[in-house]
Structure formats: structure tokens, C-alpha cells
Symmetry: C2
Subunit: 318 residues, 2 copies
């Protein structure tokens, strides 16, 4: 086999109270990537859509992780582990991007995670999931300057994932009930770097305590499949009050969606997308109507998705 | 029945990273309380040991919750709910205290929780566990000036409990594996009010994130019965670095106990007791030897307990 096609899910990072530690994979939207094995150690990026993404692999979120993988394939560590390849390899990557860059739905993570999962598949799965996350982090570094793992991890693992620590990497998949997710992406730009900049470096201890009480409640709620507890715990007293100011209509959407039966939700990643969790599809569709209605009244272009939690992560489809 | 005897477990509040939200009940030490029904609406406190605790019920940690219960029994709310009693009642409480006041092992909570559970038993269990916690909080208010629930809750529920919120009360029992607990109580005084005073009102956001990652890991570790994850998550980067300065030998004890195989541990409540969790009894006993050895070398009097997580909470024994 010298060619593989993978489907790479969008992801929600900063899961409300779980800022920087909890992420979740979505069944929609997703990217499609085709990765072809080359017989020389280089990486070629082919963009099959209109997004102005860098074609220099070192500057591309799919390319940078593959360059790291190639460096490790040619390094001493792998030779010692008996995993050095007998012949030179490289990768040609064709990306059909459906997850809009800048949407807050893990577009860069999907490229990074998809590239390394596909490449690893072509190499006979010689790398562990943790290895793949380590490589993919270089894609996030290229995209936002920060090696954050809370999109990459759910993108590779599927489901809801806890990143207890990045250095050293400590990943815990969190069993969660099959929730329905409604997402709205208002067509405004919120740069990750701006969204990070406006956060305060210090927070009140009493707010931090309330936040970690909610984090504990959310993890317990997922694992106990206790929908009410999940709903009560979907509260962020630290990040959301600041970042939501960058997203028009945020408070109205959140309040109306909860009144319509959503368990709760918040900002996806660093925005501008907003997501809401619901127990059933009919509520998730009501929530979509509310989101559309509010942004139509504001006069903001927007996309919506009604989907479910993706359980598998990046998937080989051909 | 007009008399009941209950056994009231000691508790560990502020479970390492779970400051103010996670508590745990212990099989030892425990108090014994005898509560007798009186036919007039008053509360009498009889102390059966040498501790100088207030005999005025309004100032006593067992008395104050019972006065609250009596007030509610005679109030309109209960009459509406059909729970007003047909005759006046009061309570005489005899306390045999084994949990030393000021040990950090929930001595005041044991008195408060034991009193309300026993009284409720005599009344035919007309109050819910949440009602009992609400009454018992008045005991903590008398003892430390603060209505904190992270000793009372595990004392009444048993096991490990999450207090996601006090107002409104939101209690979640967290299923946990049957861990062994070693406790050392060095004979020094750390007042709860002092221990609270030295905490900073603001914390770094990056520390708070690390803390809620650990809280999420600890809750997941308990529920998945993943001992390694429990161990990795037993890290407190916010409270312990400050409060441990009040406890001689803390760093040495923690390090040596972990080297001997303990999963981890920390300050019990606001100290001075230190607790360590272990997978098996033989490790828990090794840990005890280390604690004794270090305090003997420092020249500090101390008590130790090798015990398990109490699963039942306050128990009627006669």
C-alpha cells in the first residue's frame, strides 16, 4: 500500500470549565486527506481547496508534524528500537479542507492529526498514539505558536479526552454518553493569539475553586452518564466571561439554547464558534433554529452543524 | 426508641488537588455519640472526655446543628410538608471524642454530622441527607466561622464525595477503589483560621489550569480504579506549597512515603495531620513506619492510624 485516505474530525477544545484540559471530537464537520508514500525523504503539500494555507511543509500544519516524523525515522532512537526503515520515505499530502481555518473547530489539529495518522498507517503503525500526538503538536506550534494538545488529542482518540499534562504527555480518554452537539460558526475572525492575550494571568482563588468543582462534576457527570450533573457543571467562571465579549450574541444564544433544553455549552476552542450539548436530536435541532435565528437577526453570516460526539477519531476510509 | 448510639468517622477534607471540593471518610479514628430524646425543645451537651469543648449548645459543634433542626421542626415549612411533630422534642447528646479537635481529621464535622444523623434516626428519618448537611453546616460555622461541607459530607455519606457547590448544595458521591490510608497527626496546633489566612486570594491561571487537570485526573482515576492515574493526579500546586510550611517534616514525609510505594497524599484538611493513600495494607504499614521514624527524629509527639476509606458514613451501632 502506498496511498491512504483519512477522514479527520473537527474538535471542540476548552470544554467550558475544562479550559486547556478537556476536548471532544465531532462527527461533523471533517476534513478529507489523502497521503501518498514517496521514495525520498521529503514532504509535499497539495491544497485542494480555496483556503490560503502555506504550501511550504515547514510552515504547514500537516507538513511540520510529518517533517518531525521523518526526522525521528532517520534518528538514532528508532534504529535502537528496531523501527528504522530499510528505505527512505517521504509523504505527499492532499488536503480537502471542510473545517474552516479560524472557526475554533480544530482545523489545524485535523490537518496535523490526519497527516500523522495516515503516514503511520502507511508505515505499518510503528508509532503509538502518544508518538503521533507528539508529532502533531508541531502542527499546532506552526498554527498558533503554542503546542496545545486539546484539539489534537480528541482528533486522534475520538470521544472526550482529558489532557492532564502535556509535558510529560498524560492522556485519559473519558467515557461519555452519546450526546448531540449543535455548533454555530459566525463568520467573524477571532485570532487564537488575541483570544489568549485578553486572558488575565491571575485569577481569584475562589473562582478557581468553583472552576475545579465544575471540572470534577463534569468528569463525574460524563462517567456516571448523569445528564443533569453534566448540565450543572457546564459553567465557566474564568475564561468565558472574558472571551465571550469577542463573540456577538453569545449571551443570548447560550441563554435561549438552555431554555430550549440544551444541557449547556460555551465557546468552542478560542471561538468564534459556539457549541451546545443536548440529550436528544430534536433538542439539538431546536437549538440550531435558535442559533440561526439570533445570528440572522444580528445580520451575521453563519454556518451550523447538528452532530454527535465522534467516537473513533481520525479514520482510514480508503 | 428514645436513645441511639452512633459511630462518626474522621474525615480528610481538601483532598490534595481537590481543595474545598473533595473529601473522604476514614474507618479510624471515630467518635461515639449517644443521643437521647427529651420531651421538651432543648439541647443538652454532655462531654465524656477531657477536651475543653463548649457545653452551651449554641456554641457547641453538635449542639448548634440540633438547635437548627429544632427550629425547623417548629417552623412553618415542615408543617406544610406534613412533617411537624405532634409533641415537643429535644435532645441530650453524650460525646465520647476520639478524633482530636485541631487534628485536621474532621473532629467538629464528626460531632455535627453524628448529632444530626442520630437525632434524625430518633425522629424516624424525616430529613434527607441534604437536610442533615444543611443543619450540620451550623456546627462548622461555630467551629471555624466558615460553613464548609467537605468534612460533613463524607462523614454523612461515607466514601469519597464531591461538593460541587455549597449554595445551592450539590453533592456527588464519587465511586473509589478500597484504598488504604495512613495518617500521622503531629502534636502541634494549626488553627483553621490561620491556615486560611495565609492563602493568597489570587493564583496564577497556569497553576489553576494544572490544578483542574489534576482534579479531573483524580476523579477519573477513582472512577476507573486506575491507581497510577490516582497517583499522578495527587498533586497540589496551589495550596500545599503554602500550607505545608506550617507542618514540620512535611516534604520529607511526602517524598519518603512515595518512595516506599504510597500513591501520594498531602495535608488532611488544614493540617497538621498528613495522609497517604496506598494500594495495599503492607505499603500502608511501611508508610506508617516512615512517618513515625521522621517525627521521632524531629522529636515531635505524634499519633498514627493505618486504616481504609469508610464506605458508610455515620453508623447507628445501638
Amino acid at each position: 500500500m502506498n496511498k491512504v485516505t483519512v477522514q479527520c474530525p473537527g474538535t471542540v477544545a476548552n470544554l467550558v470549565c475544562g479550559f486547556d484540559i478537556l476536548g471532544m471530537a465531532l462527527d461533523a464537520p471533517f476534513d478529507i486527506m489523502e497521503v501518498r508514500l514517496l521514495d525520498e525523504p521529503r514532504v509535499v503539500i497539495i491544497s485542494k481547496d480555496g483556503f490560503p494555507l502555506p504550501s511550504d511543509p515547514a510552515q504547514n500544519t500537516a507538513g511540520a508534524p510529518l517533517l518531525e516524523m521523518l526526522a525521528e525515522l532517520n534518528g538514532d532512537a528508532l534504529a535502537t528500537a528496531g523501527r528504522r526503515l530499510s528505505r527512505p520515505v517521504g509523504f505527499e499530502v492532499s488536503i480537502t479542507k471542510k473545517i474552516k481555518p479560524g472557526s475554533g473547530l480544530g482545523s489545524s489539529a485535523a490537518s496535523a492529526a490526519g497527516a500523522v495518522v495516515a503516514a503511520n498507517h502507511l508505515l505499518g503503525n510503528i508509532f503509538s498514539k502518544e508518538d503521533l500526538i507528539r508529532f502533531a503538536l508541531f502542527g499546532e506550534k506552526v498554527a498558533s505558536g503554542v503546542k496545545h494538545a486539546d484539539n489534537i488529542t480528541p482528533c486522534i482518540y475520538g470521544g472526550v479526552t482529558l489532557i492532564r499534562s502535556i509535558f510529560p504527555l498524560d492522556i485519559i480518554p473519558i467515557p461519555a454518553p452519546p450526546l448531540h452537539v449543535t455548533v454555530v460558526h459566525p463568520q467573524i475572525e477571532v485570532r487564537t493569539s488575541d483570544a489568549r492575550q485578553i486572558l488575565r494571568k491571575q485569577v481569584l482563588l475562589k473562582d478557581a475553586i468553583r472552576q475545579w468543582g465544575n471540572v470534577a462534576g463534569l468528569v463525574a457527570g460524563f462517567m456516571l452518564q448523569d445528564f443533569d450533573l453534566i448540565g450543572r457543571s457546564l459553567e465557566d467562571v474564568i475564561i468565558e466571561p472574558i472571551r465571550s465579549m469577542l463573540i456577538p450574541g453569545f449571551d443570548a444564544i447560550k441563554q435561549c439554547c438552555k431554555e430550549a433544553g440544551a444541557l449547556g455549552g460555551g465557546i468552542s476552542g478560542s471561538g468564534p464558534s459556539i457549541f451546545m450539548l443536548s440529550k436528544d436530536e430534536s433538542t439539538a435541532r431546536k437549538v440550531e433554529d435558535i442559533m440561526k435565528d439570533i445570528y440572522t437577526r444580528i445580520g451575521l453570516d453563519h454556518h451550523t452543524y447538528v452532530t454527535t460526539i465522534n467516537q473513533q477519531g481520525v479514520k482510514v476510509i480508503a
